[in-house]
């Protein structure tokens, strides 16, 4: 009961913070979008050359450090890794491509829905279908293998990198690229974004909130507990959008979105499919990386690489829709993840 209450309280706070960040300057329906934030971060580090999407989003560093600090305080920080890091990197790479074809991670999908963007509803159907396929494979014995205890240095290296990046953002911002127009140029004040990340990171660590886990648990165990967190985000953000007048119901003219239903469906389908096999959505992976899980840290590096390739090779969608390269990459993503799934299941039955 307490677990459910905590999830609802945390989800509601996330909804409030997300809408608040948009009011303070973040792009519309992008109070929190883990995929978009990694895309902007990749751009600010010079990993891709798309000028409108370059900004070292402090929310991301806040999430990692919030999780790191609270898990260390509560004795839950645990250095572990070694569960198929390269396969995780590849799956994460394609999860990011799927997210950028849809134009958002599961968190933004919920926020888009709360803003009245019905394309996100198509995305949600695809996301659920992808989770369903992943859940079947999990039931059939899919496993990326066990992780093992690692040195404290290995588990905390990623959080230390986030800490250094905060220092660069605060004191040496000239080292980073920053958009002067487009989504990358729209952001809430730096310290508020950092604080928002720290709060969301701490609460997500405590509650294990996961945007893919809720639907997955419902499919696998008929357990709606985790889903309450996502539902609370949706309801709170929806109510706030309605009261502030930023709710606009429809398919067309939605901010940073396109109306090609097939590619919204397949893009989020790929995100759901990959997220379930990775053991959590992009937000959850970020939180686990802060808790000392170096497999999740490698997963995050996969997100950054996926974002960089998406924007360097024209895979990411725009308001006009998905690109041909993006469509091909999405289909390749399904094929590669399926190949990985069958490869690890075969290995399991052999051993």
């Amino acid at each position: 009961m307490q677990e459910k209450r905590n999830l609802i309280v945390a989800g509601s706070l996330f909804g409030i913070i997300a809408v608040g960040l948009v009011v303070l300057g973040n792009p519309a329906n992008m109070g929190f979008c883990i995929a978009c934030f990694y895309r902007d971060l990749a751009g600010s580090l010079g990993l891709h050359a798309a000028a409108p999407v370059q900004y070292a989003r402090p929310e991301i560093m806040g999430l990692i450090l919030g999780s790191f600090l609270i898990s260390s305080l509560k004795g839950e920080f645990k250095s572990r890794g070694g569960s198929s890091p390269v396969l995780r990197f590849i799956i994460a790479f394609f999860v990011m491509i799927g997210a950028l074809v849809f134009l958002g991670c599961p968190f933004r999908m919920i926020l888009r829905l709360a803003g009245g963007d019905l394309n996100a509803l198509v995305g949600l159907v695809g996301f659920s279908a992808g989770i369903g396929v992943g859940a079947i494979l999990l039931n059939k014995g899919f496993s990326l293998g066990r992780s093992y205890s690692q040195s404290r240095a290995e588990g905390s290296a990623f959080s230390m990198a986030a800490f250094v990046l905060v220092g660069i953002v605060l004191f040496l911002p000239m080292l980073l690229k920053a958009s002067t127009s487009g989504p990358g140029s729209q952001h809430a004040p730096l310290l508020i974004s950092l604080l928002a990340g720290l709060i969301v990171g701490s609460l997500a660590q405590r509650t294990r909130l996961c945007m893919a886990g809720g639907i997955r648990d419902l499919f696998l165990f008929k357990d709606p507990t985790l889903l309450l967190g996502s539902a609370a985000v949706l309801v709170t953000a929806l109510m706030l959008n309605l009261t502030t007048g930023s709710f606009k119901l429809g398919f067309t003219g939605q901010p940073i979105a396109h109306t090609q239903w097939l590619w919204n469906f397949l893009g989020m389908g790929l995100v759901g499919y990959g997220s379930v096999l990775l053991g959590g959505c992009p937000l959850r992976q970020t939180i686990l990386a802060g808790e000392g899980n170096s497999d999740s840290a490698v997963t995050v590096l996969g997100f950054l690489a996926g974002a960089a390739v998406s924007h360097n090779f024209g895979l990411a969608s725009s308001a006009q829709g998905a690109t041909t390269a993006g469509k091909i990459a999405t289909l390749i993503g399904f094929a590669v993840i399926t190949l990985i799934a069958f490869a690890v299941m075969r290995k399991q039955t052999r051993s």
Partner: protein
């Protein structure tokens, strides 16, 4: 009593492994977990499946004793 070793497995595999054994009509099992998330998830599932859960802290994490109510 059957022992289910879920240490080091990603979410939700600890619950899936536990569920597979419970589905064989096993009435008593010991589940080894090494993260709090796995401990919470396995405990929640076991209680929903009408099992009592008692946990013991170990060097690697926890040992959960599940008994059919």
């Amino acid at each position: 009593m059957q022992i289910v070793d879920t240490r080091g497995l990603s979410c939700p595999q600890p619950v899936i492994e536990t569920k597979k054994v419970i589905d064989t009509k096993e009435t008593e099992l010991q589940v080894l977990v090494d993260t709090i998330a796995a401990k919470e998830n396995v405990s929640r599932y076991a209680k929903a499946a009408k099992f009592s859960v008692s946990d013991t802290k170990t060097a690697y994490g926890w040992s959960l004793e599940l008994k059919k109510l």
